[in-house]
Every structure is written in C-alpha cells, then in structure tokens.
C-alpha cells in the first residue's frame, strides 16, 4: 500500500532536525514514503467549535491530496498535525451532515469520505516496520543512555485518535528500548507542555516547563524524546528561561535518536537546531563525534 508523507509547515522551517532525521532513518531502514506533491498547512489545531466547519477545510484538503496521490495511508511526524488530521478524518467518516457540507463547499475537489488512514510516524515504526526490524538495523545502540518519553497531549488525547492508551502508553518506551537505550518513565510523561500559553500567559507556560523538567530530573533521566515542535519549544528551548540548577536537560525529537542509533549521516540530525545540551550529551557518551567548538 502506498503511504504518503505529510510534513507540515514547521518541519519545513524551524524543525528541520525533526524531518531530516526521520527521513534519513526511513532510508536507513529501507522503508519508503512519498511526500505529498501538493499540500497546505493543516491548521495546527482541530477546531472544537462544532459548527465551525471553515477550520476543517485545511485538514480535509490535506486528506484529499493523499487520496488523490493514491495513498491508503498518510503519515506525519508532528503530534499536532497528526491530531488535527486524524480528528478531521474521523469527522469526515462519522458525521454525514458535516461531511456533505464540506464536500459541497469544495466542489473543486473530489468527494472525500475518510477513506485514507492517518497514522503517526511512531505507529508506522511500530506497526509497519516493527521494533524487531529496527533492533536488527542498529549500528550504534544507545547503550546506557537513560531516555524518558514525553508524550504531551496530542499523541494520546482524545482517546479516539490516541496512538496508544491515554493513561498508560508504552509506544515511546518500546521505541526507546528498541534503540538499545534505557527507557525511563517519569511522572509528567503524559502531561501538557503548556501549549500556546507561552504566548498568552508565559508565566503559566514556564510552570509547565519547570514541572516537566524537574520531574524528569527526579527520575534521573539523561534526556527526553518527544514528537512535537511546540513541545520541543516549551520543554527544550524554554529551559533557558528557568536557569535550572544542574544545567539543561537535553530534549530530542525521537527521530534524532533513531537516526543516531541507525548510524544515519549526522547532518540529518541538525543538532544545531536543538536547545542547549542535546548534542553535547551524545558527544559525551561517544555516540557522535565531537564537533569542532567555535
């Protein structure tokens, strides 16, 4: 079955370290996805206003593009894109009245009924590729690295589109184990990163940052992996506002550690785009070559 890849806007700009490392990993695994030739921003949020169909146009159009590309599935990396697309897809599958209104509005597009399946990249790794195949392809197992998952909200909630149990997920723990690292759970793994509060109420946002970082430190983790550029901003970049004792807690996109473990070219990881501490940790552990310091 053909699988289309939907990148989303942020991965083409600020989060190249997420996309490049994921695509390099797929290449290393010998697994193929095709980027959609035409696509638009998904809108980044699923509108909760039930009569607001306007904001469903963008994600539904993306699904139509995947259908036009002849794909049975469309995969995406960003948790928010995943959540928005998956929920819009459910709407098109289950709500006949709204589906009709949307299809009639978009007379320039073919009708869409939710035929394409939306899968997050982690589901692709788990269900299409499988942890075993990843394990077998490891070039540089992350032995000894204590890595904790940070799911945030959008991978797990609401449960209708969650990629795993909303209360006791294991997918990222299994992923971390498959890389040869030490999966380490911690108290805030399924909590919210603060989302857009960073703009509306920065102080409230920083409270979330502090809570997550302190909980992770308390469990003795070396690094967090996550799957969302906004989470990465809130938990990674915003640490500089905290001046936490003990220095920065490194935060990675899950795909970056995958690329390192699979021995993909290091340029694909773009550690220069990560917050402080990420690249240094991997150098220290001898997982990547030390870069020349400026």
């Amino acid at each position: 079955m053909k699988i289309s890849y939907y990148p989303g806007c942020t991965l083409k700009s600020k989060a190249r370290n997420f996309e490049d490392s994921a695509l390099a990993s797929l290449a290393a695994l010998g697994f193929e996805v095709t980027e959609l030739e035409r696509w638009n921003c998904c809108g980044a949020l699923f509108s909760l206003t039930t009569d607001d169909l306007l904001h469903q146009l963008a994600p539904v159009r993306v699904l139509i593009r995947a259908q036009q590309a002849g794909a049975g599935k469309v995969t995406t990396l960003c948790s928010q894109c995943y959540n928005t697309l998956a929920r819009a897809n459910r709407l098109m599958r289950e709500d006949e009245e709204k589906r009709n209104t949307l299809n009639q509005f978009m007379t320039e597009e073919p009708d869409y009924h939710g035929q394409v399946e939306v899968v997050h990249f982690l589901q692709l790794l788990r269900d299409e590729i499988g942890w075993e195949r990843i394990r077998a392809a490891l070039k540089r197992p992350l032995t000894g690295l204590k890595v904790a998952p940070f799911y945030g909200c959008m991978l797990l909630r609401p449960k209708e589109v969650g990629i795993d149990s909303p209360v006791k997920p294991s997918i990222l723990m299994d992923f971390i184990a498959a890389l040869g690292a030490t999966p380490t759970d911690f108290a805030a793994a399924e909590e919210c990163c603060g989302a857009y509060q960073v703009l509306a109420a920065p102080e409230a946002g920083l409270k979330r940052t502090r809570r997550v970082v302190e909980a992770a430190r308390a469990s003795g983790v070396d690094a967090l992996v996550l799957s969302c550029p906004l989470c990465e901003y809130n938990i990674g970049k915003q640490q500089q506002e905290l001046a936490a004792p003990g220095g920065a807690l490194p935060v990675f996109y899950f795909s970056q550690l995958l690329a390192v473990a699979l021995g993909a070219a290091e340029e694909s990881c773009r550690f220069d785009l990560n917050a402080a501490g990420a690249r240094e940790l991997l150098e220290e552990r001898g997982l990547i070559a030390a870069a020349a310091r400026k």
């Binding site: 700009s13 921003c41 904001h55 320039e108």
Partner: protein, 247 residues
C-alpha cells in the same frame, strides 16, 4: 436566447452590465462590449492584451450559482452574463529594504503575518483569471518556501481579484511578488551566459552592426525586419537560426 438581426454580420446578444441590460454584438470581448454599450474606460484598462491585469471582470451565468472571472480584454461575451468590472481592490504592499532583506520565510511572516490566517478555503484560486493556484502559493509561503511560491505564482498579473475574495484578508499577490523578487534576486542561480552577453555588448562588439542599421532607409529596415527568420511556434531549445550574424 434573445437575438436581434442587424445590418452588420454579428448578432446582438443581451448582457447585464452592473445589473442593466444591453444588447451587444456577439463575439466581442467584454471590454469592447462595455465600450459598445457606451462606457468609457478611464482606468481599469491597460494593455488590451491580457498581461497588465487592469481589466478584471467578475460575472455570473444565469441559472448557475458560481462566480466566474475573466480579463475583460480577453474574455468573449456570452448571452445573459451578468458582469461587473473590479478594476482595483485595496490591498497594501508593505515597504521593506530589498538590499538588506534576507531571502527566507521569516521576512514573509514579518511583513505579512496575515498569511497565517489562511484557512484553505480556496476562494482565491477559484477566482483567479490566470488559473494560478493561489491557495497553494500562500501555503508555500506559510512554510517559508519562497522558491515554490515564486514558481506557482509565476503567471500572476496582479489583478487583485484573489485579495477581493480572501476571508483572511491577505493581499496574496503582493506577498507572491515579494517572494518572486527575493527568489529572483537572491536565491535563483545567476545566468552566466547572460552576464557574458552583457559583457560582450558593453565591450562594443555590436556597435558596428547597430551603426549599419542606423544608416538604413525605412524601406531597407522594413525588408530586414520582415525578412528575418522567425523561431517556429513549436520547437525546443535546440533550434538555431540559419544565420547568426547578430550573436
């Protein structure tokens, strides 16, 4: 359909200009039909050749809810079309320092933050008389892809109709022009053969040839001009003229 026989070859057909019915000869362009009906274009008309973007028309067809558009100088009248000219639609172009501008997505976000309000309604694409995929170039700009936006918007003639339809109030064509200028001047690879040619011209390599032309009579000039070998309409880039005296 109401048709009226006239002394001249064309039949008259009814059209509605801003709601008023006129009989105009069929096969006229909208622009000529409006003039035939007695209007005079003081603005909203430029090249009459489909390239300046001054003459946008919006129209409906009877029994059809859809809105159509066209360039008045290019589109032929149809019986019972209801039309109005939209010669101008306010859309502001934000000033910036071209020399200092860095060609990436950040400048688009800074000058036109409203692009992030796009909801992908596609009304802009549907109205574009040049069949430009307007929504798609706005989408490309949201992700900072100036090269893609420049390429998708290449046929834009700045008519402004897209901006008239945008529920996000985006002046799409100004944003696209920004993208093309930044891409063209700062990102696109330089054409080296062009620089070489300019160099040859300024070194005076063609001065004698020009001097020769200057001494010709009008009759001789006309002969040279009409006798020149034209590139066939359908050919590829391997085509060369038999004689290449000027190059």
């Amino acid at each position: 359909m109401t048709t009226v026989k006239t002394g001249i070859a064309a039949e008259l057909i009814p059209i509605y200009i801003m709601g008023k019915r006129y009989l105009v000869p069929e096969a006229l362009t909208i622009m000529k039909a409006i003039e035939y009906a007695g209007y005079q274009f003081i603005r909203g008309c430029g090249c009459r050749g489909g390239v300046c973007g001054a003459c946008s028309t919006v129209f409906r067809r009877e029994g059809d809810y859809k809105i159509y558009s066209g360039l008045a100088c290019q589109t032929v009248v149809e019986p019972n079309m209801h039309l109005a000219q939209i010669p101008f639609y306010p859309a502001l172009r934000r000033p910036y320092d071209y020399a200092a501008a860095v060609a990436d997505g950040a400048i688009v976000a800074q000058l036109y933050p409203e692009v992030f309000r796009c909801v992908a309604c596609n009304a802009c694409t549907k109205i574009c008389p040049m069949d430009v995929q307007v929504m798609d170039y706005i989408g490309a700009l949201k992700r900072g892809d100036l090269a893609l936006a420049a390429s998708i918007s290449f046929d834009c003639i700045q008519c402004g109709l897209c901006a008239s339809r945008c529920m996000a109030e985006i002046p799409q064509y100004h944003v696209a022009q920004l993208a093309r200028r930044l891409y063209g001047g700062k990102l696109a690879p330089r054409a080296e053969h062009l620089a070489a040619m300019v160099g040859r011209i300024s070194s005076g390599a063609y001065r004698a040839l020009l001097g020769e032309l200057k001494t010709m009579s009008a009759k001789q000039l006309r002969e040279v001009y009409t006798g020149r070998q034209m590139e066939p309409a359908m050919t590829d880039e391997s085509w060369r003229p038999d004689e290449n005296v000027g190059l």
